[in-house]
Symmetry: C2
Subunit: 252 residues, 2 copies
Amino acid sequence: MCGADDGRMTDASQIALTRLAGLLADGTRATFCLALLDGRAWTAGELARHAGVAPSTASEHLSRLVAGGVLAEEHQGRHRYVRLAGPAVAQLIEDMAAHDPPAAAPPATLRVAGSRRALAFARTCYDHLAGRLGVAIADALTGRGLLEREAGFAFTEAGVAWLGDVLGELPATTGRRPLARPCLDWTERRPHLAGSAGAALCRHALEQGWVARIGSGRALGVGPAGGEAFSRLLDIDVAALKLPPDQPDNPV
Amino acid sequence: MCGADDGRMTDASQIALTRLAGLLADGTRATFCLALLDGRAWTAGELARHAGVAPSTASEHLSRLVAGGVLAEEHQGRHRYVRLAGPAVAQLIEDMAAHDPPAAAPPATLRVAGSRRALAFARTCYDHLAGRLGVAIADALTGRGLLEREAGFAFTEAGVAWLGDVLGELPATTGRRPLARPCLDWTERRPHLAGSAGAALCRHALEQGWVARIGSGRALGVGPAGGEAFSRLLDIDVAALKLPPDQPDNPV
DNA sequence: CGCACATTGCGGTCGGCACCGAAGTGTCGG
DNA sequence: CCGACACTTCGGTGCCGACCGCAATGTGCG
């Protein structure tokens, strides 16, 4: 009745299946994909260091993953940022990683999901703050008339004064690096504050103990001092950021 | 806050991911798995011929797939039957095969699902009838007092008469092969009729045009003559078998 | 009991691929 | 304009695995 040309269809599926599986069958590439499960965009060098391979090796792997539709890439200056191509790919990788060979393993998927949510909350991007916290800072600066969004980011006169007040001194502006620059956030899809001011603010936050690195990655946690500081300086409610508004509460 | 020991967790996921992906990254193994997507159990030799490799090669691949939890095996006489380990594995393989590299391909999943349903309906098993049709035949024979289920299958006196009436002659019983034997159906999980009577009935159904092979596999289609014959001989409603009762209608 | 057949185990061969180091290209920042 | 840095490209090396043929094992059937 039906079932004609099953052979051709199977052949096409076969090459698609082996191609995708082959991409994930390598330990280094699998390490890349699992690291990218946090939803962030990583640079090629970061992934190389994370996996313990030479940058040239990582470059080849990334090119292959991008060509295979597993990753999406974006060039930003001298960096090559890569992220998972989409939620379907992320789901597929989680499913495969969760698949147990003989006996069941503890629910690893749960921990990955939790980790992903934590990382979307606050992290560093290159040398400045990103994630929901970074976006909230940019929003608060704009809302209080300290930062202009027209033609890229630019601090107002009041904004420069605020910056000097917070940091104790203004960041050096000797080079060509602008004081403020917008940087697209990879998880929020909205700009956060980059440039020398963004870097100085991030360094200051780390030095003051407002935020602290979690583990060896770029994830950040906000301590009590940070909650107080962000609330006092910019009226940001850090606790409210930890659960995104569109995602009430689904601990799986 | 959270996120501790992410490294260990990632390592564990990494080996699980590469292990599973490595199993599916080979063309021959992928061909096996795609063939098994029909839900049937195949013998090692059948899969070897289907993929065009030596039996020894197929044997190694199957052992690896079984050890990796992708396939489940069952030994029946001198045959080694393998099938997908479970619906989760089948879903995973379909998802991976449907994943498009650069541009999207037509919905192959639909066709596979359709094919699978058709194959679960009627097929050959070794040399006799299986699938829902095979199970229905065994049920009808039992219900009409032609077949006893105690201590394996055994035809009653009326059953032997019915058999001779249908076939025109009784199947040879010279060897040690029993006239009737139960054979567990892989998709229905219930026994159907094997033995020399099952083989003779299958051969007769093919010769009379009651059923016909679909493509090169073991799938069978039931023609008009078959519908009439099964209804007249055993009061089986073939049309009702085509949609399983517990699965109303979900064309995906 | 003996033949036929399905399957498995074992060496041996060969191709593919992951890896590195070194050299080249483009960008950032002073 | 120049140095530092991120990344890419290009040989070259070594290992892993897919494949086969042959021999051995176990089962079904006459």
